[in-house]
């Protein structure tokens, strides 16, 4: 019993692959995840742990199998979640486009035969969230058509950088204390 949904993205396959394999950042964008942590990685295999948002509760542990820029597959190995397997397929297209499909496979259970809510996440909503996260890494997505860019706040590996009317400011953390 599987549910599949797809979305087109205005970027090469490398970007969704890097977002999908960044297991420490899932809480930033995937709606059902409250916090996430990469437990271990060895070659194309990783183990990750997600803490789920209410009404779901507890931890969801998955083993993750990767095929660079093509596929990210999760198999549930722990947690009270009805998902047995979740597969992100990435297809790189012409002129820097890509297509991402998400397939959710339900755990087999006698409850599947009852008219009860499935408790499965919505694949379409997960993909829309991925699309929003992807747009954060695409400069053109935020530029808009025309107009003058007056403020731009970006996070880089060196820290936060703010552009105000074309002038660059590098932000440093303020010491702890009362807010001004």
């Amino acid at each position: 019993m599987a549910k599949r949904s797809s979305i087109a993205l205005p970027c090469k396959a490398e970007l969704p692959y890097s977002v999908l394999t960044d297991y420490d950042q899932y809480a930033e964008w995937l709606p059902l995840v409250k916090s996430s942590k990469l437990l271990a990685t060895e070659g194309d295999l990783s183990v990750a742990e997600f803490e789920l948002r209410p009404p779901r509760k507890g931890k969801w542990v998955v083993e993750c199998i990767h095929t660079r820029d093509q596929m990210v597959l999760w198999r549930t190995i722990g947690g009270e979640i009805p998902i047995a397997q979740l597969q992100w397929d990435i297809e790189g297209g012409q002129s820097g486009q890509s297509q991402v499909s998400l397939t959710l496979e339900k755990k087999s259970s006698w409850r599947n035969f009852l008219p009860l809510p499935s408790g499965m996440p919505d694949a379409g909503k997960c993909l829309a969230a991925l699309q929003r996260q992807i747009s954060s890494f695409l400069p053109e997505a935020a530029a808009g058509d025309g107009g003058e860019k007056i403020l731009d706040l970006v996070e880089t590996s060196q820290g936060f950088v703010c552009w105000i009317r074309g002038k660059k400011y590098v932000m440093t953390p303020a010491p702890e204390g009362p807010r001004d």
């Binding site: 960044d22 990685t41 808009g144 007056i150």
Partner: protein, 192 residues
Amino acid sequence: MIKSAIQVQAPKNNVYTILTDFSRYKEWVPGCESCAVTSQSGNVCDTQIVINSMKRMEMGLRFDSEPVHSIKFRMTKGKELKAYAGTYRLMDSADGLGTVVLAELDIDAGFMVPKFMVDKICNKLLDDTGTALRKYISSAPMKAAPSPAAEKAPSPEAKRRPVKRLLSVVQTAVGYKIWVMGQTYTVKSEQG
């Protein structure tokens, strides 16, 4: 096949040493009454093990180890089960503080025992084994010997991320377009 991730605060070398010290299994493996090594050839070790948890079982178990990385085991003799096999795969934890053991267990108890019940038993066995392993390691700390891979592993912070946009404000003829974390909001001036 049931899987479980067991997090242990000890280096991979130490965890591997404990998991391959079969004659000391009775000190920590839940329900293990005895475990005797009957023969050994290289990394393959045959044992005679007695486990008394829900039922007392005596079986021959063959362990096939790949040093520091994995330990496979399967039943070679025994009357109570049709098959009993599994793997411990050892991975350096991403935080550099220990080891993640990816444990797999597959039991075939015959057609008289339904699969959901066997799966439940496997889950419990793996959970109990994880708890017992953590307890054993914490009670008998070994001399820390970090595995070479752990020493080489880059810290999570070292991972380079592409530039990520958080907020963008564009002034247009009719007002402002505000882009926040992938969503655009339009603020129009009152005159517009």
